[in-house]
Amino acid sequence: MRITLGMSTDETLLNLNDQQDQINTLSQQISSGKQLNAASDNPYSWSQAMNTTQTLREYNSFLSNVNFATGWGNATESALSQFSTLLTQAKSVAESATSAVGQSQSATFASEAGGILQQAMVLANAQYNGQYIFSGTATDTQPFSMDSTTGDVTYNGNSSAIGVKTSVSGVSGGGTTAVNLAGDAVFGGSTTTAGGSNMLKDIYDLQQALSSGDSAQIGNSFTTLGNDFNQVNNQLTTIGTTMSGLTNQQTALNTMLTNEKGVLSNYQDTDVAAATVKLSTAQTAFQAALQVTTLLDKLNLASIIS
């Protein structure tokens, strides 16, 4: 084959270009740590990496929701268990009052019951992160208020559930965990409505019975508060179940996050060891090509004859 000037320069240029391109790509992959720098590098992996990134985001949002629900659940649990303690105290006050005699003592009992009522009001209006935990979705509204003269309780919240997404939903609305217990379901709704009963009102009634010394009413209150105590403990069990579910979900989410991160890394991260080896091979080849080019440059008749 005749080798001519145009040929050798064109081919040399193309080859040098190719090798430089290869070195450029590899060094870009190593320095960025990513083997995908544009969709065209590997369209399928690129779109999978994209979806995986968004899946990770969604899992992180689930995790944040689980943490939120756990915090909320803890606040609910502690409010309810304190409330249950208060009910026990109220019961024992009622018990002591039935066996005690004398005006001065009943005044003491009444004021003790008053203290319990105050604390109970605080617990029923407990907040988590500035949100009322027992007012349904109306978390900016204080759920319970009491008319100090009649003892009538008004429930200002609603019965709706605050739902947060804690897992992928298969069907519409699925994967949602209800975070809250609505106040009316736990403590009872407004007592002004027909058939209304309320634990706070029950404590108020005890206090009234104690100050008036109405022993029949005190006996009634003792029974009612016993029922209330059972009711609160049932709610505590419900919360406990939800909480253990959340803990499981948290563990699962953490595992899934680790998995997906591995998947994502497989799609988009550079295998640094392999890329480095390839780079050094490409460099050697490039150096050799450069050397041959300068060598060939000297290999012409014009430089030899004089």
Partner: protein
């Protein structure tokens, strides 16, 4: 005496011949790097012999013509490869910039805005009455809408530049067609005298340039002129027929090769991507508004496609905590739901995010394909170019060797002149 004069004549012609040959070699070296140049050779033939008493006596040699070395078949192959190469070079460069504009890796671009939008609803579900959470939803919706519409408007901008580039390319092609046709006429005129190598080189260079713009096939007529055809809408269209006035390109559509073909493909590809963004935006608007409408809330998004999408503000204001809570829950659930992209025929239902992924995959695959083709045609072109250069190109070494040969012949002929002159002197002195 007659023979001595003949020797002198022959030697003189040899000196002239070698000068022509040297000039040709020098011209070759001088044009070694000229585009379209094919190496030239001075063709030397034997002079008719002279009849003498002793028989036919040779009478030296003379330069008959100066030819050039070309292979039309190889050149046609090379033009085809050149056309495909520049088609995919132009397509790849267009698609690369489109790809960069529409880039979405999942952690930036529309995907991220969509993710933030869903996250904001998820946060709102935690605190339906929270003012900052509601503002968060508002701004995430604004952000999503502007991210879609700005991507779309950037793509529209690229799209609007196509028509200018296409008409520029057609103008360039028409200029070259005129030039080739003019060269055809000039070549016909000059051929009466001798083969006009320089004009043929220029014509080849012009055809090569034309092949970069549009698909070109050519055939050489016996009188030295060429016919040039192109392919438009899958049928052959004659552009130049010998020295006849050329047919210029008036309709820029229907070319599938050369730079023009690359631009047309990129244009139609881009239109497809823009449609996909429209389908995405349309479905997003419908699905999101469906959720709010179900709870009698105002629409979140207005508009119908990627260019008109805009987020309304205050769609949550004055709503009961109950409504907000249930909308927030349904909206966070929307990210996992597969929806039917009814406007995109043949597209299986997928989640909104997956559809964005499929757009990226389409763009990526087209770009990758263009890049691969470019690499392939680059090396094919280079291979054919070396074959063509191997035949038509100038080898400096070869020319130098030839020059040394001509130098020796010239020296020898000069020696003959000197010797003959001495002989003649001897003869003249003999007479004295």
């Amino acid at each position: 005496m007659a023979s001595l004069a003949l020797v002198l004549n022959t030697a003189e012609q040899t000196l002239m011949n070698t000068q022509t040959e040297l000039a040709t070699a020098s011209n070759n070296i001088s044009n070694a790097n000229t585009t379209g140049y094919a190496r030239q050779t001075a063709v030397q033939v034997e002079n008719p012999a002279i009849s003498t008493l002793h028989g036919w006596m040779g009478a030296g040699a003379s330069i008959k013509t100066i030819t050039q070395t070309r292979d039309n078949y190889l050149e046609q192959q090379l033009m085809n490869a050149t056309g495909s190469d520049s088609q995919y070079t132009s397509l790849a460069s267009q698609l690369t910039s489109i790809q960069a504009t529409a880039s979405d890796s999942g952690s930036n671009g529309i995907s991220q805005a969509l993710g933030n939008f869903f996250d904001s609803w998820s946060t709102l579900a935690q605190n339906p009455t929270g003012t900052s959470q509601q503002t968060g939803v508002d701004s995430a919706a604004q952000n999503l809408a502007s991210s879609i519409s700005s991507t779309y408007s950037q793509l529209s901008q690229i799209n609007s530049q196509f028509s200018g580039q296409i008409s520029d390319t057609v103008d360039q092609a028409n200029t070259l067609i005129n030039q080739i046709s003019q060269l055809n006429t000039d070549i016909l005129k000059s051929s009466a005298v001798a083969q006009p190598n320089d004009l043929i080189d220029q014509r080849y260079a012009a055809m090569d340039s034309l092949a970069k713009l549009i698909p070109v096939s050519f055939s050489t007529n016996s009188n030295g002129s060429v016919n040039v055809d192109t392919v438009q809408n899958n049928s052959t269209v004659n552009l130049i027929n010998g020295a006849d006035p050329p047919t210029l390109i008036t309709d820029s559509s229907g070319f599938s090769g050369g730079q023009l073909g690359g631009l047309l493909t990129a244009q139609s590809d881009l239109a497809g991507y823009m449609n996909q963004f429209d389908y995405f935006a349309g479905t997003l608007i419908t699905e999101v508004n469906k959720v709010t409408t179900a709870s009698s809330l105002p629409d979140v998004f207005s508009g119908t496609d990627a260019s008109t999408i805009a987020a309304n503000s205050g769609f949550l204001s004055g709503q009961s905590s109950d409504t907000v809570s249930s909308v927030a829950q349904s909206m966070s659930a929307l990210q996992d739901q597969t929806v039917q992209f009814t406007t995109d025929p043949g597209q299986p239902s997928s989640t909104l995010q997956q559809y964005l992924g499929s757009i990226q995959q389409t763009i990526g695959a087209d770009t990758q394909n263009a890049n691969n083709n470019q690499t392939y045609y680059d090396s094919l072109k280079s291979e054919l170019q070396s074959q063509q250069q191997s035949l038509s190109g100038v080898s400096i070494d070869e020319e130098l060797v030839n020059i040394m040969k001509y130098q020796q012949i010239y020296q020898a002929a000069a020696k003959v002149v000197q010797t003959t002159s001495t002989l003649m002197n001897t003869v003249i002195n003999m007479v004295q």
